[in-house]
Point group: C2
């Protein structure tokens, strides 16, 4: 029996997909591409590499109540519940102690619930290769071969080659860089030595916990306190007591940037983080005019425009490169190149205390 | 007691204001400007020149059922019902025979139900002057002093001056021209001798009926058949029998283009036919960014944009000169300079048999 597990972090909201994404209806619960939600895509593309009982979800209770009905073949106990959001560092630690209790030899793939992957067979193939690398004690990150000098992603620099695993060339990961400025991004892109940081990592759980102990000793102690109570009558109480004291920290900052013996596997899996409405125009094939209609759209002289409505007919005349997203209580219209500014809208709504729209 | 009457033609739909205007919700019934419908504006600006019992409405039964509750002080019997639409020529004839029966000396102002007039005092003043001209036997048209060489309106050429009436200079109307091409419109505009045809006319009813008799003898006979039965037990039956046989014809074509002794009074009354959504951007004062919000609008880097929603918050980022009209079942987005193309949308919907959206 394999000791390879997938842990899907599903705690985020995805504010850049407002007005469709809301606190109570996060991005991973949305049906954006095809007839499945992002979460359903994330689960279904794991089979047959990961049997269902080797897939765990780390998320909050409210998200779990929303997501579990979307995957009825995933048992309740596969949902590992955070009492509240503490960013990805503690979340991955919580997943790790659960898997470690189940199997001290576990290898864990930390995956995302709300990203798009076009080439799912290659995705499973690289995950299988990554497990073999991880079994050697390396921490593995999946690197995305960049299409353009993006300033929206973190980068990983490839060092020496560590050889081929299942046909994928694996490199020593020399350095993680947070989202760069454009000049830096261009230099990275032209060098050919950088991948985008996909946020998907593969590691032995004991190796990950050792990195927590070395780099974040207080967080490690808190995780161990929770781990010691797992499966005991005190488990829920200890988690509820310790978790609120844990500091928010991302897994990149907590672990990856300072980790030893990190490997990167650059791969083209048709990946997108679906970070904004604009990305759907890139992911989803458009019609002859380049329009992407996620609902009924009467397009007159309209090109490269995304339309998504709850139930209304959307009629557009003379639009180019535009995004139209319509929900029951809010309607967003913006050019594709302003799609990132949707986050500013959410901030404005917060300031205006329009919490019913958040 | 005055024998001056206003007859408001309220039979149209206003397809260029789709998706707000519908067969069952015509433009005149819409609340577009301020807190009153176009029809309410049209009625209210007549007082005190026309007392309520001197105001009649010519329209169909369905429109009357919609409009009458908007003007509760206008009695049922002031609504003159056409069995079906036959364009403005027969409609004005129907109004004329009703008023002639009531008062053979009646002077009638034929007015519109769905136009905007900014300067209502000057409007009443010119109507008062026009009555004096009409009493001399002239047919009077209110001419709108053009702002620009519009190709969207008909034109009236001013001939010799007929003198001042109440401070308004009145001219012999030499010629009516249908909507011209741009070169002609520019020549008209530059000559200073042309007014736009506002579609508002003032005439003695006997004088109008004589023009019908001279220019449209068969239509005149049909109107006289209806007139003879007015107020008798046969009235409704005769109207129902004769009206469907009447040919559709506009008042411009039936009467005005060939009428004798026509006068024009060029005037600036801040008039607009509200012929498209774009015109509302011209009529309604915008905010500092030139935006006109007829409902809640969160505007980020948005300029000169009209927003009208049934109940949704509309958020726009980076839009310029755009029109956004949102209803329960349809949403329209187009640049201001494409607002005329909304008619094409309605035609497309007809072809697609989307009659529920018409």
């Amino acid at each position: 029996m394999s000791n390879y597990y997938a842990a899907i972090l599903a705690g985020g909201v995805g504010t850049r997909l407002w007005p469709l994404s809301r606190q109570a209806r996060p991005k991973q619960a949305l049906q954006l591409i095809g007839d499945r939600t992002m979460f359903q895509h994330a689960i279904e593309r794991l089979a047959p590499l990961f049997p269902r009982d080797h897939v765990v979800i780390v998320t909050g209770r409210k998200h779990a109540e929303l997501l579990q009905p979307q995957t009825p073949d995933l048992p309740d106990e596969n949902f590992i519940l955070e009492p509240m959001g503490r960013d990805s560092g503690p979340a991955v630690g919580l997943g790790a102690i659960h898997l470690h209790r189940r199997d001290p030899e576990a290898v864990m793939a930390m995956l995302t619930a709300d990203h798009f992957i076009a080439y799912v067979e290659r995705f499973r193939a690289v995950l299988a290769a990554a497990e073999k690398v991880a079994q050697t004690g390396r921490i593995v990150t999946l690197g995305i071969k960049p299409d353009f000098p993006s300033t929206g992603y973190g980068y990983v620099r490839q060092g020496e080659s560590l050889g081929q695993f299942d046909g994928f060339e694996v490199f020593h990961a020399e350095q993680f860089t947070e989202k760069p400025d454009l000049a830096t991004a261009q230099a990275f892109f032209e060098s050919g030595r950088y991948s985008w940081n996909s946020g998907m990592f593969i590691w032995r759980v004991d190796r990950l916990l050792a990195e927590f102990e070395r780099q974040r000793p207080s967080l490690h102690r808190q995780l161990m306190t929770i781990a010691d109570a797992l499966g005991t009558p005190d488990g829920a109480r200890v988690l509820a007591e310790v978790w609120p004291q844990i500091e928010k920290i991302s897994v990149d900052y907590a672990i990856m940037e300072g980790a030893r013996d990190v490997a990167v596997i650059p791969v083209d899996i048709g990946w997108s983080d679906v970070g904004s409405w604009a990305s759907l125009l890139d992911i989803i094939p458009g019609d002859e005019q380049g329009n992407v209609a996620l609902s009924e759209h009467l397009a007159i002289d309209t090109h490269r425009t995304l339309v998504r409505s709850e139930k209304r007919l959307v009629v557009t005349i003379g639009l180019e490169d535009m995004i139209v997203v319509d929900t029951d209580d809010a309607l967003l219209i913006c050019p594709k190149d302003r799609a990132q500014d949707v986050k500013a809208v959410v901030d404005r709504l917060k300031q205006g205390e329009r919490s019913e729209l958040l």
